[in-house]
Structure formats: C-alpha cells, structure tokens
Symmetry: C4
C-alpha cells in the first residue's frame, strides 16, 4: 500500500513521462511533482530512476511542512526542497517541473532573461522570463536546494505574480516551471523550451528584436484575461 | 450528423494531423482549414484540442460571409477570422495553414523577410517571403484576428500574387501559408520552415548571400510556369 | 514486365528510401539513381512521387547515351540529366544522390567550400568539399539540368578525382554525391550533411579553425589508401 | 563458442546499441569497449559493422598487454589501440566510448575546451572538458591510434584525475569518454554531447559566460563527493 491519492500518483507519473517524450531531458534529468493541499504532502519523482522504469508506486510522498519523506525507502529527487519552496510560497499552484532543456539552459547559463519577442511567448508568459541572481557561497554550502527555490520566489514574487509568470531560470542552472496541475507545469516547460529556441534564432537574425506592448497584452489576455476565448471545454 | 462535405472533413483532419507529424508545432499550436466554395463555408480545427484527440466530426463549420459557426458546440480556432480574410480575398485558394514553426517564427520575430538564397526557396516562393507590418494598437484592440488576416492580404496583394507567394510572416507572430487544397497549404508550411532553417544557417556562414535572378526564375518556372515539367500525374 | 535488372531496381529503391530515413529531404525532394554499365542505362526515382508510395517498378530506366526514358509512362526526376552528366564523365561510379539536406545547402547557398576541420571529414573527403561556379543565364535557359551536372564535373575533374571527392555543392542549390553503388552514394550524402553541420558549429566557435595536413592524410589513407585497415569483409 | 565472459559480451553489445539510440553517431561511427581486468582482455565493437547487425558474438576480444585479437576473424574497431591506452593508464575504468557526436566534435575541431557554464556540466565533469594537443606528424605516421590514446592520457593525468574528468576531446577529431562500466562510459558520452550543445548556444548568447566555483563544487560533490546524496540504490 502506498501513501496518498492514487489519482495524484497517476497524474505525477504521467507528467514525469512527458519529460522524455517532449525531449526536455537526457537520462534521468528532470522531475515533476504534484501537491495534495488538503493532505499537506506532495508526490515527486524519486532521485536518479530512469523514466522507463518509473511506476506510480515509485512517486515519493514528501511532507509539505518538514520536507521529510512520509513513506517508503526511495529518496526523492534532489530538487525536492526547491519544489517545496514553491508550494509554500504560492498556494495556487498544483504542480512543479524542473528540466535541463537545452535552449532554456542556454539562457540560464548566459545569465540573460528571455525577452518577449512574439506571440508564442506572450500567449503564456506575461513578460520576459527572468533569470534569478546567483546563489552566494553560503547559500550553496547550506540548504542549497531550498535556497535555489528561494531565489526563484524572491525573483518572481507572490502567488498572483507566479500565475502570470509560470517559469524562471536559475542562473547557471536551468528552468523551473509550475502550474495548476503537474501536467500544466510540464506544458509550461515545453512552451518555455520552444520559446527559448525561437529567441536564440531570432536574436541571431536581429539582436535588437522586440515586440510592441499592445500585441503582448492582446495575446496574454485572449488566453488568460477575464474575456479569454481560447480553447474548448471538452478536452 | 455533421454539416457539409465528408470528403472535406477528412481532408481537413488529415491536413491538421500533418502539423505534429512534420514537427511544425508544440501542443495544440497550429491549425488548418479547407473551404467549400459552393457551400459558402469552411471547416477548421477546433480551438485548443490536442491533435491526437481530433476526429473528422470535430472540424468546425464556419460561414464564409459571417464568420459564425454553422453547427455544433465546439469553438473554432481563435485564428478562424484570419483564415476567413484569406478566403474572402483570394478566390483560388482552397486551404489555409497557421503554425508557430521555429525557424519561420524566428524571421517573423526578427522582422526580416526570408531572402531568396537558393533553389529550395525558388522552387515554391516567387521572391522573398515577406513579413507584414505590425498591427496598430487599434487593430489589436478590435477584430484582432481579422485584422491579422488583413495585414497579410495587404502585404501579399491579389489572387494572382497569392498563387506565386503562398506564405507570409505576421510580424512578431508567425507564418500563414495557403494553397489549392488543405494538404497543399500544409506542404507550403513544411517548405517554408525548411527554407527558413536553411536561410538562418546560410546567413550565419555568409551575411551577404544572394541568388542570381535567372536561377530563381528557372526554378520557379520549371515547377509552376506554362512549360512546367516537374512531377508525375499519378500521385 | 519492367526493363532491366531486378537487382538494380531493388538497390535503387532501397537507396531512395534511405533519404527520408536519414532526414536528408522534405516531401519528395531528393533522388538516387544507379547504373547498369553493360546495359547502357540507369534507373532513377520518378519525379514528384512520395517516398512512401515508391515501388521497385516505379524506378525509371533512362538511356545513358540519349537521356531518353526507355520504358513506361513515368517521368524521371527532373535532375536526371545531371545524373547522366556524372555517369558519362566518371566510368567508375555506380550511383548518384541528390538531396536538399539543410546544412549542406547552407554552404551551397553561402557560396563557401566546406573546409577540412577534422577527421570526420577527412575519413571520406580528400580535401574541402567544393562549391561550383554559378550557372550563367544561358546555361540556365537551355539544358539547365545537364549544365548543372557539367559545372560539377568541371569543378571536380576526372574519374580519379571523383573517387577522392565523392561530393560537390552546386552554388545556390545543394549537394550531389556519388559512389560505387547507389547505397554508397547516399551514405556519402549522409556523411556530407553530418560534416556540414559540424563545420557550421565549429566555425561559430572558431572562425579560423583548420586541420593539419598530416592528420587529414592519415585518416583518408586508413580508409581508402593502399594499406587501408578500416572495416570488415562480412557486412 | 566465444572467448570470455558472456555478461561482458552482453554489456558491451548493449552499450554499443546505445550510441545510435542516443543519436551520437551516423552509420558505423562510434564504438564502445568493456574490460575484464582479471582476464586481461577487453571486448570491443568490430570495425565498420552496422549497429543493427551486431550480435554479442561479434564483440572482438583483445589482449590488454599486446593489443592482439585473441579469437575470431573480425577486426576490432580501428580505435582499439586508443581504448587500450586508457585501460593501461587507468586501472579503475571498466568501459570506454568513442563517438563523433556533432557538438562535442565542434569543440574538438575548434580547438576549444568546453568551459563550465552551469550545473549540467558540473554534475559530471570536475572542470572544463579539455582538448588534447594535436598529434605530431611522427605520431600520425606510426602507431597513430595508440598515440591518440596517449595524448588523451597525457592531458588528463592519472587514475584519480580520470575519475573526476571522464571525457576528453582529441583535437580535430572528437570525444572519448570512459567510466566504471561500458554503460557508464556511453552515458558520459551522452552528457558530454548535451553539455557541448548547451555551451555552443550559451556562448552565442553571451561569449563571456562563466560559473562561480562554489556552484561547480556543490554540484560535483552532491553527486560524487563523500557525502553524495543523488540517486537511489535500486536501479
């Protein structure tokens, strides 16, 4: 028997399997978690296990308050404490994804925000996707993964800000994305990688490229504003 | 029972499924439509539905004159009004495709026409693939998608011009392509993306690259001129 | 009943199918031929037919002396006359491949030879892969495809030279490759594309990159020289 | 009957099959070996055989002291002597991989070390991945492959150094990687290629990119230091 919601286990497993399917990570890099707010715990990929070997039972339950594993002998992803920092800061999010996807990592390593260069970006991200400040030597030495989450929260802001900007790049590391569900958090990771690749190629063609604000607003609003008209209820 | 021609439903579904197969879009980005000129309607992908979930019955019938959905409870692609602008302007076209393919988007975001750098381009596009002007704040505020179609028509010209240049890049947005059939419009999207990728790499190797006009003409004419000799009747 | 050798038909079909499998072409771009020297004819892909629809019977037999189709109602690839120019110039070759592979096209469009930057290149190509001169307006106007083959032969030289340099880039067009068999000619196309991609990335990192001649010679000789010791007889 | 350990045969075959699966090589490029230290021999891919044709029985047993084939009529990879140089120099390694993966080759051809630009790199490589010096004309003329291995050993150092830096780029050639097992050596090849691709894109965005030493140390130590806490015992 395993701890917690079977539905959440399944959702977190499926979301983790989206990472290799979308080409967002090599080997065992990358991890997704999903939270049960009522239960006060989240489920996360175990550390270093191949995606093809993962089962629902492998998802590791972690206590939201203490960060400790609730049940089982598998260690959670080393990035578990970063996920926890997000869940504690932002009550509205339901899932978190971390990958080392190539183009997003390139911006993180270059210490450059991803600028808003078009509607593909504006459809999802309400402004440039920011790079965090680098962690200090002290922040690296103690509680490194928790501090990684903290610099993201410091850069993004409160729960409302996190809804409008569901992604950040940790300097010299890589992307974290979040969303209402585990699946949504991976989708934001997929979009972020596509937007980053487009941006690298755009900047190669025109280093001064930019987008007018009224186009940005229109696109973000038609998907996320009060009068949003994108999509269909069915799927 | 569903509205309109079963053959057109099937053709529009198959053309939409070519988008993920050809790697032209992530998630639910991208859409294809096809028109029944006699019937005065076109069929288009529903908004935000995953390609793998699409069925023939999901294709949304839209009235060519009014832009209103004729039957069913699915909303059409948010880009439906852009497609309608093309069908109204160009009587000869039978299908329209919109994607966010990476390399074509890069040119759209960089606000650069794709120059004619070789025969791969000249085989299909009779000159540089143009970027539209940006939409004004007013054009973004009201009838945004229809105005998106209108700036493309403004840039391309009449029906004859649209036959020689079956593609345009909307500034800071991405590519639209069209053709005699839904399938042809997607094929033009595939070619556009290939040509854009070649152009980015060519310009990296030689920023001053160009093609002599007599080579351009020869290639366009051998496929599309009065004495065209490319292809076979059978397939 | 179909004209010529069933074995050659099969070899030419399989070689053509390697093109999409190796990602060397979109849609129906690209073609392979193979020659029967005794019979005085070559078999080549029909023009504009999808790779997935090709059968052995579709391979079009063309007379080596006249360039005319010997049998059947399918038109040969529009590039048939270019292939014929190579077979006439170089008695040792048995197959020819033409593609529009992205990175090789980039060099052709940039009007730059692919320099020898390492052993991957030197293993197959005994020097820089050359770009031809552009065709004149007259050469484009009459016998365009035959003239395309002729400028390649003009640039490469005689049969011995063609054995040491089984590839060329037609300016503003793309790559042609050849070899002892149809399969070998496609393999040279695969290698050329890989080498071109490596070269673009190498030049981005170091515009002055080069390789010492003694390393080039060693690699070419260990595969192709009198004391070659690469490979095994079995496969 | 075949020489040596069936388990090692299987491990070396599977590791070789990882090369095309991970997209690290075209055609028959690339090879993996694994060593039986007690038996004093290693098994290596035969030269020029297609990955899809390989069987366990094809793995060629080579004597560690003499470099001679112990059994069978298949020739070993031409790079066998390079592998042997590594096994002789570094008693702790159990497998060696050589590929011509595109991005790693680009750094080798550009004669540039891969700098430490982020945690993806630091997780596996304890510093910049070095390029060797070029081989002299004499080193190319005699015992070329053995000398290739020797310049790598010269650049990397002793067994301890090889554990912290399980990869090197041979100038104007390409990557060699090694590890405790054949599989580990291929995984290092996969990571190296991913890190090289990220680095090329990072340097395009910011030619002066770098990583603070305390972040590098933290990441290398959490996976490889005395208090390492990455991974799970099970897989």
């Amino acid at each position: 028997m395993t701890y917690g919601s079977p539905d959440l286990r399944r959702a977190v497993l499926l979301a983790n399997q989206m990472i290799p399917a979308a080409g967002l990570a090599q080997l065992t890099w990358g991890n997704v978690s999903g939270i049960d707010r009522q239960g006060g715990y989240y489920l996360i990929k175990p550390s270093g296990v191949a995606y093809s070997d993962l089962t629902e039972d492998d998802m590791v339950p972690v206590d939201l308050e203490t960060g400790k594993v609730i049940e089982g002998d598998l260690r959670p992803s080393v990035d578990s404490e970063s996920h926890r920092a997000f869940y504690l800061a932002w009550p509205s999010i339901g899932g978190v994804t971390h990958t080392h996807s190539t183009n997003a990592v390139a911006f993180a390593q270059a210490d450059r925000d991803i600028p808003v260069l078009g509607t593909t970006h504006a459809d999802t991200f309400d402004g440039p996707v920011p790079v965090t400040r680098g962690l200090t030597a002290d922040e690296c030495a103690t509680d490194y993964e928790l501090n990684t989450g903290r610099v993201v929260v410091e850069r993004i802001g409160d729960d409302t800000a996190a809804a409008g900007m569901p992604a950040a790049l940790v300097a010299n590391h890589g992307p974290f994305t979040w969303g209402a569900t585990p699946k949504k958090s991976v989708e934001h990771g997929i979009i972020l990688e596509a937007v980053a690749e487009m941006a690298i190629k755009t900047l190669a063609l025109n280093p001064a490229a930019s987008t007018p604000p009224h186009l940005q607003e229109r696109h973000f609003e038609r998907k996320h504003g009060p009068g949003a008209y994108y999509g269909n209820p069915r799927p």
